[in-house]
Amino acid sequence: MSTFDIIRTAFTGLLAQQKALDVTGHNVANLATPGYHRQEAVLRATPPPMPSGGSTATVGTLVGTGVDVVTVQRMQDAYLEQQVRNIQGQNGRWETATKTLQQIETFLAPSSELNLATMLDRFFSAWQQLSVYPEEQGSRSLVQGEAANLTTTFNNLAKQLTDLSATMDASISARVTRLNQLADELAALNGNISGVLGAGGQANDLLDRRDAVLGEMATLAGITSLSANDDGLIINLDGRPLVQGSAASHLSYGMGASGWTMTWDDGAPVQIRNGEIAGLFQMRDTVIPDYLGQLDTIASALVSTINALHQTGTTMQGTPAGIFFDGNSAGSIAVHAAIAADARAVAATRVAGAAGDGRLAAELALVAAQPLIGNQTLGQAAASMLGQIGHAVRGATTAREASATLLTQLDNQIMATSGVNLDEEMMNLLVFQRAYDASARVLTVADEMVRTVIDRLGVR
């Protein structure tokens, strides 16, 4: 072992500590970077030089040759991160469901006092009023006005829900575009990562970026399975690879024969079962049509019952009365043109010329109490929609809170492995700095040793 070996050993110390300090600096710099995984310089003592064919017996006691940074490790809990992606999908799904349901709730109950049930009450109260004051044109105008309010309420609700459904299409479309971009980015990252790894390099920060992309994809579409080997990651969506190594497939969302549909770019159908996109599909295909259907049921029961009765009456002028409502759904219901034009066309009686006879109006007012939809009255059916949307919003909110809480917990557990702790980094900073100083000191000592040999023992 030569004196110069000490210099070499000290030099490896300097290099290794410097590298370790670099890593610490990188960690501190990324303290607040989302998705950053803490990195750690893995130090290993380098073994003594072993002469070929030699043994401890022949070469004597061997001392190691210093230190080396074997690798810069990325601290990651792969299992937890896999799990978190699943939850991200659920969370994304409940998030969109909650937002949409809350919108529907606002439509159905703009305030606690203003809703379809109230409008129905007012409509039937107007008929009752007419049954008491059949002589007054004012009573007829009241019926006419409340009928217009009621039909407007129906029309608005139908339009709001239909518009919301169209918004779902736009949102899905935007998310599909984003998903395709992410698939491309992921494929590119896969390529880069395998290139870097193939050249023996460290791809830690590329891996961070890839995890972030995966997280976003999970939130969007709930990626169901993925086989993680570092350079050839395969992302499966609905049982088919979306990204395979550096090759990405695309999804397309467009107007097909049966409305807006989602397919692979080769035309094969795809069904997304989790994530925001699944939530949007559920709203568009199940939830919104359900509420629209209930509104239509109420509207058509109202139209047919009121029309059938009204047609048996006579108008204020003594002519046979026509229908009261046009249309047969929440979207199309309207006050019949003749009645909208002239309140006198509202019939309160079946007897021509009986000004004080409000018996038909009384019968019409009693429609409010008839069980027209199952065993529910129209008003009860409208009110039970409020209960239904209330429960739906509650359920979705609870599910979203649960998934968000779970997500936070998992994130915390992941952070326990991957997060940066400043105290720890400060300690490392201290240790590596001292080690660096000490290595420099060893170098000085070695230098002095060499000088001793040269100055004192040297040939003069």
Binding site: L31, A32, R38, Q102, E105, T106, L108, A109, S112, E113, N115, A117, T118, D121, R122, S125, Q128, Q129, S131, V132, Y133, E135, T349, V351, G353, A354, A355, G356, D357, G358, A362, A365, A369, Q380, A382, A383, S384, L386, G387, Q388, I389, G390, H391, V393, R394, T397, T408, D411, N412, M415, A416, T417, G419, V420, N421, L422, D423, M426, M427, L430
Partner: protein, 300 residues
């Protein structure tokens, strides 16, 4: 467990935002006095509130109806009272005229009777302000017209029944044909009230004492019928008052129930609000002191 700095700040931020959300929510509850802002606040409560509100709307509707019925019945009662008084006067005049009188006296009595006919006609054409009380469904048509000798009925036999509470229908009017026996609607053997009075007047002028006795007997029958008609009106008025009291009671009960479903319990809400504000302050303090200290601060 290893703690990362991001964990601490992230958790703290999420707690702070949760507490802020609760504070905002409680502030709205206290400010508006309504704890049931959206159906999702209490889905079953929202359903109940909608039903209760519907019940309140119906109560308000029936209250209007009841007021209308009450006004109508009171008007009718007043008109019937007047009629009874007029018939009594006519009877007194008839009895006086039945004694032997001079032609001048008979003429005076006859004139009195003619005036009474006019009075009866006026009372028979009474309104509740706008609508004729005794014209059946023809409430806008003056029911009794014509000269005292030949007053005809222009109304119909319409019986006006209105709902004064859930499933309870009440007849409010008496059609004029029954009240005045027009066309023998109440008693086919009896001439109508106006004809009876007109005949009485003619018999007075003619000094037909026997005839007057018969007229007086007819008048008695009319008086008896008016009594029973008025008694019926009285009964209806009682029913209406009962219904009105019942509605007021129902209204109170429903208001109370609605209040318990959707109103804010102020004491509770304010206590909660105070609590949450304290939590918020504490959390803010923790946040402000979180980044002080640590090795970074002490290692120089």
């Amino acid at each position: 467990m290893r703690i990362a700095n991001n964990m601490m700040t992230g958790n703290l931020a999420s707690h702070l935002s949760r507490v802020s959300a609760r504070i905002a929510r409680l502030q709205v509850e206290v400010a508006s006095g309504i704890s049931l802002q959206k159906p999702s606040d209490d889905p079953d409560g929202a359903l109940r509130a909608a039903m209760l509100r519907s019940g309140l709307a119906r109560t308000a509707m029936y209250e209007k109806t009841v007021n209308y019925a009450e006004a109508w019945l009171k008007s009718e009662d007043t008109a019937l009272d007047t009629l009874q008084r007029l018939v009594r006067e006519a009877r007194a005049v008839g009895i006086a005229a039945a004694n032997p009188r001079s032609p001048e006296e008979r003429e005076t009595y006859a004139r009195q009777l003619d005036q009474l006919i006019d009075g009866v006609k006026q009372a028979a054409n009474s309104t509740d302000g706008v609508h004729y009380l005794f014209s059946g469904f023809q409430t806008l048509t003056t029911p009794f017209t014509g000269a005292p000798a030949g007053i005809g009925y222009a109304g119909d036999a319409g019986v006006k029944a209105i709902e004064i509470s859930e499933g309870m229908s009440l007849t409010v009017n008496h059609a004029g044909d029954v009240v005045f026996n027009m066309g023998g609607a109440a008693d086919a053997a009896l001439p109508d009230l106006f004809a009876t009075l007109a005949t009485m007047s003619a018999r007075t002028r003619a000094g037909d004492s026997d005839g007057l006795q018969q007229s007086l007997a007819e008048l008695d029958q009319h008086a008896t019928r008016l009594v029973s008609v008025r008694a019926e009106t009285g009964t209806r008025l009682q029913q209406v008052e009962l219904a009105s009291a019942h509605l007021a009671q129902t209204d109170l009960v429903l208001q109370d129930l609605l209040g318990s479903v959707e109103s804010t319990d102020l004491t509770e809400a304010i206590v909660h609000l105070k609590e949450q504000q304290n939590v918020y302050q504490a959390a803010s303090y923790v946040a402000s002191s979180l980044m002080n200290g640590g090795l970074l601060y002490w290692l120089k």
